[in-house]
Amino acid sequence: MTSSFTTTELNRKNQRTETLFKILFGMVTVTLIIPVAVILITLVVKSDGIFSWAFFSEYPTNGMTEGGIFPALVGTLWLVAVALLASVPLGVAAAIYLSEYAEDNWLTRIINLAIINLAGVPSIVHALFGVGAFVLFFEFGTSILAASLTLAVMTLPVVIVATRESLQAVPQSFREACWNMGATRWQTIWRIVLPNSISGILTGVILEVSRTVGETAPIMFTGAAFFLPFLPTSVYDQTMAMSLHLYVISTQVPNVPDGLPYGVALTLIGIVMILNSASMAFRTYLRGKKKW
């Protein structure tokens, strides 16, 4: 049959190439899930029998080889909350300035460069900066305050970038509509820009939280303790923390039962995953309400 629409040899060859790349890239993508799956399955299997109400509600006992993780959980909450109190207002304010007020000149370019570089600084360097700046110079001592501020500095770029991106996702025509009715920049930001970017900003904040929860280096010299038999009562106290606790029982304490570190690790990952899912669900919910 010779019709002008018959498949040619070249068509077949292109089709084979098409299929090849589709399968190849598909397989690569699927492989990426394997590490995550392996980690999760290992943690779940090995931490079998560890979890109970007591695991979450009791202090570690017997040289941290028994008992629960209660003070570490509480400590992590403290660290994250104080870090948020510092980084969210600063980060959002900076992002608003950069997105809504700043002109494109050498100063804003330097600031942007600084933010990108700040995001690339290794966490151990942040830790040493925290010791120098907050523990020693400002004389906060090793405390929740010093540790949280270190975490805040480290996560500021995340907040700034996420906030700026969600501010810039608000169409310029909305701003112009406001300005042309005589609105000031601030009236425009407060009444229109922020309400329409809040979903993105909150997503950024939650992602920041999930990152903060897992950080170890920045807090180990600045405010987190190996073991404390009491809960912190103010930001000037030291505290235990989940991430450091995991490090300690995995490497520093002899005779820890096999399942314990896995249980702590699974709890830590669980917190992060719950937060990330919450952030995604929340974003989907707020996006659904948007009408543009």
Partner: protein, 251 residues
């Protein structure tokens, strides 16, 4: 005169967009501005409420008077200029808030205390009736304005200027994003508003200029070529360039 410019020149960086423009716009009339793209008509419009100046590379010379007062003078409050000289854009830019809040938005910017519920209702009804939108939206004032049709949004964009009691309305190709039926509806509305408001409208649509304006200004390369009563311009253009343009020989 509602708007009067004398020797108005404007530069975008080193490019001169307006040359020594003298224009007088009569109060309560609809004046349309026509001319090929890049002739400076939108630039002129944007100079009247000084929104061109948002770009730091724009420089102007000459005077722009609105009801006898120079808006370029030192000490002029831009917020007051923008409030009294309202602007409607090509793309309807209703805000992503409720229809009611859109209408009351401008008022909220310029008054210290919020209008009471009944005052607000009153203003919303009056403004929406004025733009012939009330019957369509009276049962859904709480819905987000960006879900309205483009025609309705454009009418809303006009309605939300009215509570601020503007004296001049500038419209930059207000119908070019609309289909013919919606265009006709908005044109009717513009015609409706004349008398109470002075309206200056930039358009690429010759038929629209002819249908819906009292006076017509033809611009070319940043200069005013002709400014006469609309009927006269379309029947007996004085300048050859005007004649060529309105007959569609270029543009």
């Amino acid at each position: 005169m509602a708007v009067e410019t004398k020797g108005l020149s404007l530069w975008y960086g080193s490019f001169q967009a307006l040359f020594d423009v003298d224009i007088s716009i009569r109060e309560g009339k609809v004046t349309s501005m026509i001319g090929p793209s890049g002739c400076g008509k939108s630039t002129f419009l944007r100079t009247v409420n000084r929104i061109n100046e948002r770009h730091s590379y724009v420089r102007t010379e000459g005077s722009v008077k609105v009801f006898g007062e120079d808006v370029m003078a030192e000490g002029v409050e831009l917020v007051q200029v923008r409030k009294q000289v309202g602007m409607v854009f090509q793309r309807p830019n209703a805000l992503p808030i409720s229809i009611r809040d859109n209408v009351l938005f401008g008022l909220g910017l310029h008054s210290k205390k919020k209008p009471s519920k009944s005052e607000g209702d009153d203003i919303v009804e009056k403004s929406l009736k004025r733009v012939l939108l009330w019957d369509n939206v009276k049962d859904k004032l709480g819905t987000v304005a960006t879900s309205l049709s483009l025609e309705e949004q454009q009418k809303l964009c006009i309605a939300r200027l009215l509570p601020m009691k503007p004296r001049v309305l500038l419209m930059d190709e207000p119908c070019s994003a609309l289909d013919p039926k919606a265009t006709a509806a908005v044109e009717d509305l513009i015609w409706e508003l004349r008398g109470e408001y002075t309206i200056l409208i930039v358009t690429h649509n010759m038929a629209q200029a002819r249908r819906a304006s009292d006076e017509c200004i033809f611009m070319l390369l940043g200069k005013v070529i002709e400014h006469t009563e609309t009927g006269e311009m379309f029947l007996t253009p004085q300048n050859q360039a005007t004649a060529d343009y309105i007959e569609g020989r270029y543009g």
